[in-house]
Structure formats: structure tokens, C-alpha cells
């Protein structure tokens, strides 16, 4: 190369080209992910064969499925020895699966309406971009839903709602003086109102009255949804309060919270449900009794709250001490620093944990079937499978129950992933 010059000048610039066929699109993906080595190629074919055999084995069962039959025997007759599912049970017992077997069929529109409105009530809570004014409906919704599902005069709900409003107004009014006094006054004011309101409601119990449906008549998936939603919604604030209490500098508050959390976490949910069902009644004076659903709800809320408290505590511990100090140093008081600085950050860290626990809680609502409440699983195990008409249709029923829960829980987990990404924007 001695005679040649080392200098070089490009005459024409190289224009942009697309990558070779083997390096783009689907082909590249398949090559890199399915056939990147001999072993992976073998694994790909084994997996494909495995998937194929499952589909081939299961397809006829689904495709031959009978959707229209009155009993399991009619199903078998229609199938005529072929393998096939008997989905007719879902069709025929649909109302029972969803509403339980005692809810008056003329009133099905009420839970339907309540569950549609639930979406509207949850929307502004779940999506921050929606106008904040919609939260007013979320605040009213619990009372509205109670009236829709349990029936009775609307005055009951209105009175309960007004009691809460009075409590909040009183708290706002007195909170500048002292937190404890404000809480005490608002509790007293609300209870006084509820007593007065109770008399007024008793006198006019036919105003906008819907047919009364007692708690023991609720059932089916409606019951699961009801228990799950309420328990999760109540347990998140309670769990946060417990987590903060556990960090408190005041020893008595701290010990109460620690004892509560450790006790509830140390006991299986089923045990708590049995306590709610049987033992709790011994603690009330004879003649008075709390509604069974209410007792179960209290236990589920406590249970979930104890777990959420530990998740939130993890989030609080993950924050650097500097955040607490910075909040203190600019003069924020405890409530303000928690509300604006500590909790927004700690809760963001805790989202996966809270969702994990809450999805578990949604599914655990089916445990109430063990204390003879007729939720979705209770309906299947009880009235449906033990009827002579449908004795023996296990796969279809439990499969359907699994599918319903999967759809709900999967959506919840997708939502939480979306939320995490939304909140992630403030880092880098």
C-alpha cells in the first residue's frame, strides 16, 4: 500500500436503506425468539405440539356444547354419546348465578342499575384526567346503591348521607382548633342526626320506597361483587391509617395498630368468617343482631386492611428520611406532610402490593360459601349442583365462575399496570 495515498474524499453521500429481509419485521422476531438455537427450535416444536393437542382435545367439548336444554339428561340425549359441554346450565340458571335464588326476579333491574352506576362512580376515582366534579357522584353512590339493592324508603339513604355531610361540616368547622375535639364533635353531631333521622324515616317509610330485600336474599355473583368492592374500598383507607398508626410516635396508638395488624394477619380468613357468622352473635345483647353481610364485611375489611397496612408500611419505609425532613423543614404539619409529600410517594410504591392483596380479596369473597352464604360458588355447590336437574355439571359451572373472576381480576391488574406507568412520568 506504500504507493497509495491515505487521503479519501467521499463524492456521494450514502442514502438511507432498509435493513435486509432477515433483519426486520415478523421474520426477525420469529428467528430471534423461536428458532435462535437448535435447543430453542426443538422447544418451539414441542410447545406447538403441546398447544395443538390441548386445542384438539378441548375443541369438540366446546364446539359440541349444548346451550339449550332443560336438564342434564336432555343434554346427554342431545349429545348422543359425543363428548361435549353442557352449557345449557349457564343459560337456564343464569339469574341464579348472578343474583342468587331468592332475589325477586321482578327487581333484577335494581342490582343491574347499581352495577352500571358503579362504573360511573369508580371512573373519576380511577382516572385522574376526568373532571373532579364527578367525584360528587362517587360520594353519593354508596347511599344510592344501598337503596337500590336493599330497597326500602329512599329516606334511609338520604338520612345516612346527611349524617355524613353533617359530620364532615362539623369536622371542617372545628378542625382548626384540635383534631380530637373536631372528630368527637362530628361523631356526636352525626349520631344525633341519625337518631332524629331514624324517627323521621320510621314515620314516612313509604317515600319512594322500593320493595324490601333482606340481606339473606342476596346471592350469586352480585354478592361477590358487593362484598369485594365494599371490602376493598373500605380497607384501603383503613390500611393506610393502620400503617401510619404503626409508625406513630405515640406508643398507645402504635401498640393498638401493631396488635391489630399482627392479630388479623395471624388468623386465617375462614376463621374470621366463622367468627363473624357464629361467635360474634354471642357478644351482642340478646335480641339485637347485626346483619350477616355487615358482619362478614367487617371481617373482610379488617383482614384486607391488615395486609394493605403492611404493604403501605413498606412504601413508607422506602422513602428517604430526607423527604420527611424536607417536609418538616418547610413548616408543613403532620397532616399536610403526609397528604402532600409522604403518602403520594409511598402509595405509588405500594400500588402493586395493594392491587395484589385486593385481587386476592376479590377472589376470597367466594369463601363465604363455606359459612352458607349463597354467592357464586355457594350457588353452584348448593342449589344448582344438588338439584336433580343439573347434578354432575362441574366443569361448565366452575369454568364459568373461573372465567368471570379471571376477567375481573385481569382487568384490575391491567389497570394497576397502567396507573403505575401514568405515575412513572415524574421520574426522568
Amino acid at each position: 500500500m506504500s504507493g497509495e495515498s491515505n487521503s479519501f474524499v467521499r463524492k456521494e453521500m450514502i442514502s438511507e436503506r432498509i435493513p435486509p429481509a432477515a433483519e426486520r419485521g415478523l421474520f426477525k422476531w420469529v428467528r430471534e425468539n423461536l428458532f435462535s438455537s437448535v435447543f430453542n427450535t426443538i422447544m418451539t416444536f414441542v410447545s406447538l405440539w403441546f398447544i395443538y393437542s390441548i386445542v384438539v382435545a378441548a375443541a369438540p367439548w366446546f364446539l359440541n356444547g349444548i346451550w339449550d336444554a332443560k336438564t342434564i339428561r336432555e343434554c346427554y340425549d342431545l349429545l348422543d354419546g359425543k363428548s361435549g359441554a353442557c352449557f345449557a346450565v349457564l343459560n337456564e340458571r343464569f339469574p341464579q348465578l348472578i343474583y342468587g335464588f331468592k332475589y325477586p326476579s321482578s327487581e333484577y333491574w335494581r342490582p343491574n342499575l347499581a352495577s352500571i352506576l358503579l362504573l360511573f362512580a369508580l371512573a373519576p376515582i380511577l382516572f385522574r384526567k376526568l373532571p373532579r366534579r364527578l367525584l360528587a357522584f362517587s360520594a353519593v353512590y354508596p347511599f344510592l346503591a344501598f337503596w337500590l339493592i336493599w330497597g326500602g324508603s329512599i329516606l334511609t339513604s338520604v338520612s345516612a348521607f346527611l349524617g355524613c355531610v353533617i359530620a364532615i361540616v362539623c369536622y371542617r368547622r372545628f378542625s382548626s382548633r384540635s383534631f380530637a375535639i373536631a372528630v368527637l364533635i362530628s361523631l356526636i353531631a352525626a349520631n344525633v342526626w341519625w337518631i332524629i333521622g331514624g324517627y323521621i324515616v320510621d314515620l314516612n317509610d313509604s317515600v319512594l320506597a322500593l320493595k324490601d330485600v333482606p340481606s339473606r336474599d342476596l346471592g350469586g355473583f352480585m354478592l361477590n361483587l358487593l362484598l369485594g368492592t365494599i371490602a376493598v374500598c373500605l380497607s384501603i383507607p383503613l390500611g393506610i391509617a393502620l400503617a401510619l398508626g404503626r409508625q406513630s410516635g405515640m406508643p398507645i396508638i402504635k401498640w393498638i395498630c401493631v396488635f391489630f395488624i399482627e392479630f388479623i394477619r395471624g388468623v386465617p380468613l375462614i376463621t374470621l368468617l366463622f367468627v363473624a357468622n357464629v361467635i360474634l352473635a354471642f357478644f351482642f345483647p340478646p335480641g339485637t343482631s347485626l346483619d350477616l353481610i355487615l358482619r362478614v364485611l367487617i371481617m373482610m375489611t379488617f383482614f384486607n386492611a391488615a395486609y394493605i397496612a403492611e404493604v403501605v408500611r413498606g412504601g413508607l419505609a422506602a422513602l428517604s428520611k430526607g423527604q420527611y425532613e424536607a417536609a418538616d423543614s418547610i413548616g408543613l404539619d403532620y397532616t399536610q406532610s403526609m397528604r402532600f409529600i409522604i403518602l403520594p410517594q409511598a402509595l405509588k410504591i405500594s400500588i402493586p402490593g395493594i392491587v395484589n392483596v385486593s385481587v386476592g380479596m376479590l377472589k376470597d369473597t367466594t369463601l363465604v360459601s363455606i359459612i352458607s352464604m349463597f354467592d357464586l360458588v355457594g350457588m353452584i355447590r348448593g342449589p344448582i349442583l344438588s338439584s336433580t336437574d343439573w347434578n354432575g355439571v362441574y366443569w361448565e359451572l366452575f369454568g364459568a365462575a373461573a372465567a368471570i373472576f379471571f376477567v375481573i381480576c385481569f382487568s384490575v391488574s391491567k389497570y394497576s399496570q397502567w396507573l403505575e406507568r401514568q405515575l412513572e412520568t415524574d421520574r426522568r
Binding site: G322, Q323, A326, G331, D333
Partner: protein, 255 residues
């Protein structure tokens, strides 16, 4: 070296610490501290690590609790009364070594949060104040960004602006430049010098001896939890009295 700052110091007492003691468990961190700071004074506290200098200024806004003795800030004595503590904290600004900005809030929100909720200033006005101070620390264009998007020096200047938005009468600096890359130290020191020129009462824990010479009217040397020597910067650097001070100065100025 820049010109020495000449500023008048008033007779009014801003901070008075009297025979104050503090223990961490059984470890005696601060021993019989006596310190009086007049309004308008700029004090630099230095000393080897573990000598208690950070703890001292953290006691002044009650981030640490002292066990015996008295601390009077702006005429209010620091006791365990939470109302007094909150009042003093809103009058005393603090800048930390690690900035401690709130990562989930924008720069502007970082600066307006306390004025809105503690001082009860209308949002609009608080934002104007915040922009004023962000301009003062020369980063108004970053107002809508988040702390994670800023460099260390910028973050520390935001932290200073955040404190200033509360219109404090006293500023405490806890090693404000120790966590910064060398090329960013100057921008933060310049901000602090400007603040001193405005007559702010400042206590500054730092190892920036150039800053001490230029700005401070008193340098305090601490070792083993006690004030070993204090003097005007000229005297302090040229003619240290105690052996500990001499050793310390030879170590940090020796290279």
C-alpha cells in the same frame, strides 16, 4: 479571590443557644453549646466529620431534639410544643446536602406547596413569588420540569428557592455543596453569596473555605461536639489558636 463582603450586622438577636446538650443514646454529640447569632450575621461552621456541626444546625429548626439547655429562635423558645416548632420551621429555611426536593411534584409545585398550605397565600400569588425566586436562582425556565430532570446544581438552587418562598428570616445550610460535582459548586455558592448580599441571616455548615473568607463574618470550628474556636475569617485562617484547629486547617488547606 473575590472581594470581601462588607455588611452591617444589627444588634438584634436572631438565634440564641445556651448551654445546649444533646445525646444520641449514650453518645454525647453536642456538649454545652453556647452560640448567639445576630440578625444579618453570616456564620460558617466547619470541623471534621462527626464533630456535631450538622446536628447543631438541625437542632435549631428542631429536626433533632436537644435534651438540655435553651434554644431561642426569633424570640420563640424551642420546646416540645409542636405549635412553636411549626412556627419556627416556617421562619427558618433549611437547605440539605442531598437537596431533598419532592420528586413527585414539579419545580413550581415544590416551591408553592408550603406558601399555599402553611402561609395560606392564594395560589396565584404563591406562583408569582415562586417565579420571582426561581429567577433569582436563575432557573425560571425549569419551573414545569420535575426534580429528576435537573442537574444536581440546579436541584440545589431549586431547594434554595423553595426555602426562600416561605420568606424565612434565617437560612440554615447543611453542607449544600458536598454532594455536587465540582463544576456545579460555583453556581450554588454564587446563589448563596447573593443571598448574603441581601442581608439574610445565615448559618452554613460547609468546607468551602473560599466562601467562608468571602462571605462569613464569623467562622466556628467544632470538634468532638463542642465549639473549639470561633473568630473572624481573616484571624481564623491566618492565626488559628487551638492545635485542633491548626491540624484541621492544615488538612483541608494543605494541598
Amino acid at each position: 479571590m473575590a472581594e470581601k463582603l462588607k455588611l452591617e450586622v444589627s444588634d438584634e438577636i436572631a438565634i440564641k443557644v445556651e448551654s445546649m446538650n444533646k445525646w444520641f443514646g449514650s453518645f454525647h454529640v453536642l456538649r454545652d453549646i453556647d452560640l448567639t447569632v445576630n440578625r444579618g450575621e453570616r456564620i460558617v461552621v466547619c470541623g471534621p466529620s462527626g464533630s456535631g456541626k450538622s446536628t447543631l444546625i438541625r437542632c435549631i429548626n428542631a429536626l433533632e431534639e436537644h435534651q438540655t439547655g435553651q434554644i431561642i429562635v426569633d424570640g420563640t423558645e424551642l420546646t416540645s410544643d409542636i405549635k412553636n416548632i411549626d412556627r419556627i420551621r416556617s421562619e427558618v429555611g433549611m437547605v440539605f446536602q442531598h437537596f431533598n426536593l419532592f420528586p413527585h411534584l414539579s419545580i413550581l409545585e415544590n416551591c408553592t406547596l408550603a406558601p399555599i398550605w402553611v402561609r395560606k397565600i392564594p395560589k396565584k400569588e404563591a406562583e408569582e413569588t415562586a417565579m420571582h425566586f426561581l429567577e433569582k436562582v436563575k432557573i425560571p425556565e425549569q419551573a414545569d420540569k420535575y426534580p429528576g430532570q435537573l442537574s444536581g446544581g440546579q436541584q440545589q438552587r431549586v431547594a434554595i428557592a423553595r426555602s426562600l418562598c416561605m420568606r424565612p428570616r434565617i437560612m440554615l445550610f447543611d453542607e449544600p455543596t458536598s454532594a455536587l460535582d465540582p463544576e456545579m459548586i460555583k453556581e450554588v455558592l454564587d446563589t448563596m453569596i447573593e443571598l448574603a448580599e441581601d442581608g439574610m441571616t445565615m448559618i452554613c455548615v460547609t468546607h468551602e473555605m473560599g466562601f467562608a473568607r468571602q462571605v462569613a463574618n464569623r467562622v466556628i470550628f467544632m470538634d468532638d461536639g463542642q465549639i473549639v474556636e470561633q473568630n473572624e475569617p481573616e484571624q481564623f485562617f491566618r492565626n488559628p489558636q487551638s492545635d485542633r484547629t491548626k491540624l484541621f486547617l492544615s488538612q483541608i488547606l494543605g494541598h
